[in-house]
Amino acid sequence: MAEEKQNELRVIIRTIDLKKHYVKKGVLTEALRGVDVEIFTGEFISVMGPSGSGKSTFFNMIGALDSPTTGRVFIDEVDVAQMTAEELAFLRCQKIGYIFQTYNLIQYMTALENVTTPMVFGGLMPDESRERGMDLLDLVGLKDRWHHRPIEMSGGQQQRVAIARSLANEPGVLLCDEPTANLDLATGQEILDILRRLNEQKGVTIICATHDHRMMDICDRLMWIRDGRIERIAEREEVHVEVGSIE
């Protein structure tokens, strides 16, 4: 069954022996020590691991937000290291959506302006981007708050705006770095529902770093990272069996 699924799906992100080292005050920190993974289109993957395990670093690598020390990242079989600055900007703008733990909305823009910013960068006309922005805000249930600035909204609402923004140019991949970490249980659940819906209805590949165990229920695969290495990868069904057996 798993074999069949892999055959019909394409690999959208592939990493080969990915390593990242930081040198801070003369001390070498090895955040990633050789990661090889393949992620398929339409998948919902959870990446789990304790703090400092290299989750975020891994995320930044596959999202083309940071460059690896050694190793390579292929996005849809294109080597990120070979791309020019313009191509990278296009990739970040059109093909990948980012959701951060700290939302990272631009403070002086309204919700709608935040959502339309990637469209503006993508060269869309104002009228069109406005229309699409409103549709996206509707999708996350914030249509009536479009003119509010981030400081006038709750954490959950801000994260929903961030989700709407990440979807601005209909990306194929959504990278979420602990999207529910700063939210209470109920709002976290709302966010997860939205993500699940996106994955099922639009076929967006979602890669989600999280501590949230509810994520296990909705994702296709789980990936554990520890000390900069992949500890294990498992299908959801397997994990459930395990959890059951432990109980």
Binding site: R10, E87, A89, C93, K95, Y98, Q107, Y108, G172, G203
Partner: protein, 488 residues
């Protein structure tokens, strides 16, 4: 499933970029105001120095012109009583425009042919250059070069063997001195010097004779009175001087004012006249000076009263009208203000923009301080927005876009700050100059120079702000998005 196809990110139109920039400034209005204030203060300082110097320079030029015009009578009295020293004549000829009045007058008085006149003018011009050079030296250097010789005596000394030897040796030793011409040119000039000297002496002789002719004329004994009466114009002209009727009228007017002024001051020198003013002013007669009297007479009521008393007591000046007394007082006041302005503007005219060396140095230091202040403000503004820059890069902003946004923003802040600053600087400068020179400053505002100065001050504001923003913006734009976020 959608394939990921990579293309180049489009560049944004300028209007879009400006829109984003203005939004950013509007949101951070307070922060922007602080930055603008820093720039404004810096530019105001610059503009203040600039505007004060420009106004002062204009006042100085105007003062010199006024003084020259007011001293026309003194100039003519001097010319008609003394032929002048060799050096004075030499400089006069050097400054005379060939074919001009002074030149033609010199030709007529000296009786030199056109060719000889030309040779003399040439010699005088060269001589003036050398004299200027020796005058610019400090005492010690000058002494080591030409010993105690002064004026045209320098040329005589340099022509003598030992004098020339000492000069060349000293010039060789004093490495800091650059002589104005080559030594060959100097030698050539010195060879021609006796001819030049002879011609200038001939001119002096011609002048002396002309002066004698004027003095021998009836009414020529007291020159000032004669000039005031306008009775010797014809004699002066026939003696060979170029004494235009227009100049004659003005000289006569000034001479009359001086004579009338003397009459009034003569009354004050008498005990009766002094007591009049002392009683009115409630002071001791011994303390009444000419200045007190003129101040007293500048009031029309006082002048009328004073004139009536003069008539009563039959003192000198009784023949003058009260209005004329007030006018004389006004003349005296203007003369005093001219003297004061001349004194205050004595240091003008050297260095860049006539600022003087000290002011130029101050201006440079202030530019440096402004630059650092503005750099600091811009550096803070950009670094505190690293997170925003990183976010924008995650959303697909190009490096160029980020650069343009930040440089544009600082240009805008620099422009606003520059405008405020230059207005402030101009106002302060004008105020201070008005306090120092009074109406004289208001009359001589050099609008053209000031507007150029204002524009350049605004330009300096914009340039400093833009340059200061380039480095941090470039640094932020070049970083990978996550690195920028980490720095914060």
């Amino acid at each position: 499933m959608k394939r990921i196809e990579i293309a180049d990110q489009p560049r944004l139109g300028f209007v879009r970029v400006v829109g984003v920039t203005v939004d950013g400034i509007r949101y951070r209005l307070f922060r922007a105001a602080v930055t603008v204030a820093v720039i404004a203060v810096a530019v105001a300082f610059l503009m203040n120095i600039l505007s004060e110097s420009l106004i002062k320079r204009e006042v100085a030029a105007r003062t010199r012109g006024d003084i020259e015009a007011r001293r026309l009578v003194q100039v003519w009295v001097a010319r008609l009583s003394e032929p002048g020293s060799l050096e004075e004549l030499l400089r006069e000829i050097a400054a005379a425009v060939p074919g001009g009045d002074a030149y033609r007058e010199a030709a007529a008085l000296s009786g030199l042919s056109g060719e000889e006149m030309e040779a003399m003018a040439r010699g005088c011009r060269t001589a003036a250059v050398y004299l200027d050079f020796f005058n610019s030296l400090d005492y010690a250097r000058r002494r080591s070069l030409v010993y105690t010789a002064a004026g045209t005596g320098i040329f005589e000394r340099l022509r003598s063997g030992p004098g020339r030897q000492a000069f060349l040796q000293a010039l060789n030793e004093l490495k800091s001195i650059r002589f104005v011409t080559s030594i060959e040119d100097l030698t050539a000039f010195l060879e021609r010097w006796p001819d030049t000297r002879r011609r200038v002496k001939q001119l002096r002789e011609g002048r002396r004779q002309a002066i004698e002719k004027v003095a021998a004329a009836p009414g020529g004994r007291d020159l000032l009175t004669a000039l005031a009466e306008g009775s010797i114009g014809e004699t002066v002209r026939s003696a060979g001087f170029r004494f235009d009727p227009g100049i004659e009228t003005e000289v006569a007017r000034q001479a009359r004012l001086i004579l009338d002024g003397r009459t009034v001051e003569k009354a004050v020198s008498m005990p009766e006249g002094r007591q009049l003013v002392a009683r009115r002013r409630d002071m001791l007669p011994a303390d009444v000076t000419a200045a007190v009297v003129w101040d007293f007479l500048s009031d029309a009521g006082n002048a009328r009263w004073y004139r009536d008393r003069l008539v009563e007591l039959d003192l000198p000046g009784a023949e003058l009208s009260a209005d004329h007394l007030t006018e004389l007082a006004e003349q005296w006041r203007q003369g005093e203000s001219l003297v004061r302005a001349e004194h205050l503007t004595m240091d003008m005219g050297t260095g860049w923009l006539g600022l003087g060396r000290r002011m130029s140095w101050l201006l440079m230091v202030s530019m440096l301080v402004c630059g650092i202040g503005i750099s600091n403000a811009m550096l803070m503004t950009v670094t505190e927005r690293f997170r925003e820059i990183a976010t924008m890069k995650c959303l697909g902003a190009l490096d160029g876009f980020i650069m343009v946004v930040f440089v544009l923003e600082s240009c805008f802040l620099g422009f606003v700050g520059g405008i405020f600053g230059s207005i402030l600087g101009n106002l302060i400068g004008l105020g201070r100059m008005c306090a120092a020179f009074g109406a004289r400053a208001l009359l001589s505002i050099p609008f053209a120079d000031l507007s150029v100065g204002t524009m350049s001050a605004v330009g300096v504001g914009i340039a400093l702000a833009a340059i200061a923003a380039v480095y941090p913006a470039l640094k932020a734009a070049r970083l990978a998005p996550m690195e920028a976020m980490r720095i914060e």
